[in-house]
């Protein structure tokens, strides 16, 4: 038994070293951010999510959006994120402090969503895109989320006010109308809240961003 004891101690120590490096130190160094005031407006940033936006984040998590979409902007000299308009600067750890469950992602089957709330704020666009991605993005391999919408027979005398208007060739068919469910509204509210690299924060002041862009 004694020789095994040494082997055991050895392999648990090597394990422990990684635990210190990749668990303890990150929690220590990246786990205690506090909001700071925005130099321009004085509001505390990054803002906390509203309860609707938090509901939307839960839908995002439940439906696995992370498996195709990342939420991290990379520096200009390494990737083309900034040129593609996915952010004005790289995201830093502080940007994620209010996300509660980080959805940074590791796949870009679809574009990065860090600042989707800035580059694509239109609620209607998101409803159409999520109902059937082919409407706004022909050839996309994103799945349709029609199950997050209500489809019912259209009453011509009393059409739903928030029914979606589809271009020719799309939609539920004649006589039906489609309205977003509460979950869908929450999801879109969450997407509209994603403005991760849009704040001036202590680690990335506006002046430094400007000089990088030159």
């Amino acid at each position: 038994m004694s020789k095994f004891r040494y082997i055991f101690i050895g392999f648990m120590l090597t394990f422990l070293s990684s635990w210190v490096g990749l668990v303890v130190l990150p929690v220590w160094g990246l786990g205690n951010f506090k909001q700071t005031p925005d130099p321009a407006t004085g509001e505390m940033i990054p803002p906390l999510l509203s309860s609707l936006e938090k509901e939307g984040r839960a839908i995002y998590i439940a439906n696995g959006c992370i498996y195709c979409h990342s939420q991290q902007v990379h520096p200009a000299r390494v990737r083309t994120d900034i040129e593609r308009g996915w952010g004005v600067r790289r995201t830093v750890a502080r940007d994620y402090m209010n996300q509660e469950i980080a959805q940074m992602g590791t796949m870009r089957t679809g574009p990065d969503l860090s600042n989707i709330g800035v580059r694509n704020p239109s609620e209607t666009w998101h409803f159409l895109h999520l109902y059937d991605p082919q409407i706004t993005s022909k050839g996309s391999n994103m799945p349709p989320f029609a199950f997050l919408f209500d489809k019912k027979k259209k009453d011509p005398k009393n059409p739903a006010k928030d029914a979606l208007t589809f271009p020719a060739g799309f939609g539920p068919g004649a006589g039906y109308e489609v309205t977003p469910t509460h979950e869908m509204r929450a999801l879109v509210a969450y997407l509209q809240s994603l403005k991760l690299s849009s704040y001036e924060i202590p680690e990335a002041p506006a002046a430094r961003i400007e000089s990088l862009e030159k």
């Binding site: 050895g10 210190v20 490096g21 130190l25 160094g29």
Partner: protein
Amino acid sequence: MLVASVVILIVMLLGSVGALFAFSWAATHHQFENLEEAAESIFDADEPIGTPTDTYITHES
């Protein structure tokens, strides 16, 4: 940042010293002898070295 660097430095120094110590302990306590015996420990009288233990029964050559 500075604290992190110091912590890492300490961990790495401790780790390296520990590894060197473990290696020298192992060397002086005969851990590197009889390695052949260790490799042969998977065999026994019934499945000795030289006898394949997984083949088609009809395999003649």
